[in-house]
C-alpha cells in the first residue's frame, strides 16, 4: 500500500494471472497441432470438428443441456417463491432459514453426491436425466435465492399494497406486479442456475452412470487418460457458454430501472 506505484502494477499482474489460463485455453482450442504449444504454430477448427463430430461428445452436450434446463426451471420457480417469502413475510428466523437454504453450496459436494448416489442406486435412478436435473436444482437453488433476494428487495412494497387494496388476489399481485418488476432479476437467476448445473461435475460424476455423462464428466474421464487438445475445444465451448451468460446478464441488468441497479455481481 506504500506509494501509488506498487499497487497498480500488482493489480495489472493479478488481472493477467486471473485471465491468462482462460484466454490460453481458448487460443489452444484453435490450435492446428496434435499437442499443446503456445502460441500455436497454426490455427484450425479441427478440435472443434472433433468435438462436434464425435457422437459421444454430442451425447454429453445433449445430457448437459437437458439436465441444466430441468435444474434451471425447478430452482428458478422454487427459488422465486422462497425469496419472495423471505423478503415479504413477517416470519421469524429468516436468517436461519436462508442459511439452511445455502447449505447445498457449503456442504462438500462429495458428501452430497454420495448420499444422492446411495439413494439413486436403491431406486435404479443412476443415469436418469430427470433425477440428475432435480439433484442439480438443489445446488442451483442457493444461487437463485441469493440473486433474487437482492432483486426482490428493490420491488416497491407500496405497489403491492396498492394492488392488494384494490382487490387483487396474492396470485394476481405476483403475476401482474411482482414478476414484471423483478423480471430482469428472475432472468439473471435463471441464467446462473443453468450455468451452475451445466458446469457442475461432482454430483453428475456419481449420478450419470454410463448413460447420462455430462460435458464436465466426460472432460474428467478424458483428463485421467491424457491432456488431449479436444478437451481444450470443449473447455473453450464451456467458457463461451459462461461468456454468453455473463453478456446476457449484463444486457438484462441494463434493462432494470435505476432504483433496481445492482444484483449479484
Amino acid at each position: 500500500m506504500n506509494g501509488r506505484g506498487f499497487l497498480p502494477v500488482y493489480i495489472g499482474l493479478a488481472c493477467l494471472v486471473l485471465m491468462a489460463p482462460i484466454v490460453i485455453v481458448c487460443v489452444l482450442a484453435f490450435s492446428g497441432q496434435g499437442y499443446l504449444r503456445f502460441p500455436p504454430e497454426s490455427l484450425s477448427l479441427r478440435w472443434f470438428a472433433a468435438f462436434f463430430g464425435d457422437g459421444r461428445w454430442r451425447q454429453s452436450l445433449w445430457s448437459s443441456t437437458m439436465i441444466a434446463l430441468i435444474a434451471c426451471a425447478i430452482s428458478t420457480v422454487l427459488g422465486f417463491f422462497a425469496a419472495y417469502a423471505l423478503v415479504r413475510s413477517d416470519m421469524r428466523a429468516k436468517k436461519m432459514m436462508l442459511s439452511f437454504m445455502l447449505l447445498p453450496i457449503i456442504i462438500p459436494h462429495v458428501i452430497t453426491a454420495i448420499a444422492m448416489y446411495f439413494l439413486a442406486a436403491r431406486f435404479g435412478l443412476v443415469g436418469n436425466v430427470v433425477w440428475i436435473g432435480l439433484c442439480h436444482a438443489v445446488v442451483a437453488l442457493p444461487v437463485v435465492v441469493l440473486i433474487l433476494l437482492s432483486a426482490m428487495q428493490a420491488v416497491d412494497l407500496n405497489l403491492e399494497r396498492a394492488a392488494l387494496s384494490l382487490g387483487a388476489s396474492r396470485a394476481r399481485v405476483l403475476l401482474r406486479v411482482v414478476i414484471p418488476i423483478a423480471l430482469p432479476g428472475i432472468l439473471s437467476a435463471a441464467l446462473f442456475a443453468f450455468l451452475a448445473s451445466f458446469d457442475e461435475l461432482i454430483i453428475a460424476l456419481f449420478l450419470s452412470g454410463a448413460r447420462a455423462q455430462t460435458l464436465p464428466v466426460r472432460i474428467w474421464n478424458s483428463l485421467h487418460l491424457e491432456i488431449e487438445p479436444v478437451i481444450a475445444a470443449v473447455s473453450a465451448f464451456l467458457i463461451a457458454v459462461t461468456g454468453v451468460v455473463l453478456l446476457v446478464d449484463g444486457a438484462v441488468r441494463r434493462l432494470r430501472a435505476p432504483s433496481m441497479a445492482g444484483g449479484a455481481a
Partner: protein
Amino acid sequence: MSQRMGDPALMILPAFALLGALFVVPLVWFFIGVLSEESPGDMIERGVAVLSSRAAVTALITTNWIALLVTGVTLLAGYPIAYYLAMSTGWRFAVVLFCIIVPYFTSVIVRTYSWMVLLGRNGLINQALRAAGLTDAPLPLLYNKFGILIGMSYVLMPYMILTLYAAMRGIDPSLIRAAHGLGASRAYAFWKVYFPLSLHGVVSGSLIVFILAIGFFITPALMGGPSDVMIAMLIERAVEITLDWPSAAFMSLLLLAATLLLYAIYYKVTDVRRMMGAAT
C-alpha cells in the same frame, strides 16, 4: 402486509420440500443406512479404527495444511485486489471486476484443466522456461502439493476477493482522508484505520475459503501427486474403488461436522445474504 391476504411465509415451503426430499433425506438415509448395519458398539469401534487409520490421519493433516495455505495465499494475494476494487470507479473498476467474475463463473474442471496445461512437465510454463534458457530439466510444478496450492488458490480466489470487497465497500473513504488530514502517513492511516475496519471481511473471507477448501475434490484429485490425498478424495475412493461404505460414511460425518461447525461461526460473524459476493 394486508390482513386479507395473510402472510406469504408458506411460499417458502416448495423450496424446503425440494431440499428436504433431495438433500436432507438422502444425507440422513445414507448415514443411517450405512452406519446401522452393525450394532452401535461395533460401529463406534469401527469408526475409531477408520478415523485413526494411517490413510485417514495423513489425509486429515494434508487437508488442513492445504486449506490453511490456500486461505493464506488467497488472503494475501486477494486483499490488495479487493482494496483496489473498493477504491476504483469507472473503467478500472470494470476491468478488474471482469477479471474476477469471468474465472468465478467458469467451470471448476475447465479452470483446473487450464492450470494443468500451464504447469505440466511439457506444459506452457516449462516450455517457456526452457526456451528462455532458464532451466534444463522441466520443473515439477504439477502432480504435487505446489500444483494443488496453485489450482485451489486460483479457483477460490474470487470468493475471497468478493467477500473482502463487500466489507470494504462499507468503509467510509472520508475516514482515511481525515486520518491524512490529521497528519497520519499513508501506511499509518491504512494500518490503524482502514485495515481494522476491513477485519470482518478478512474473517468472513478466510472462513468461507477454508470451509470450501477442506471439502475440495476436483482440483486436488487432478493436480496432486499420489501422496497428496485430501479427505474428500479418500471418501470418493472408499465409494468408487474399495466399495467401503462405512469408511466413507465415517469420514463424511467428520468432514460434515467440521464444515457445519465452521459454517455456524461464519453465520455468527457475517451476513449470509452477502455470501459469495452476492448483492455487491
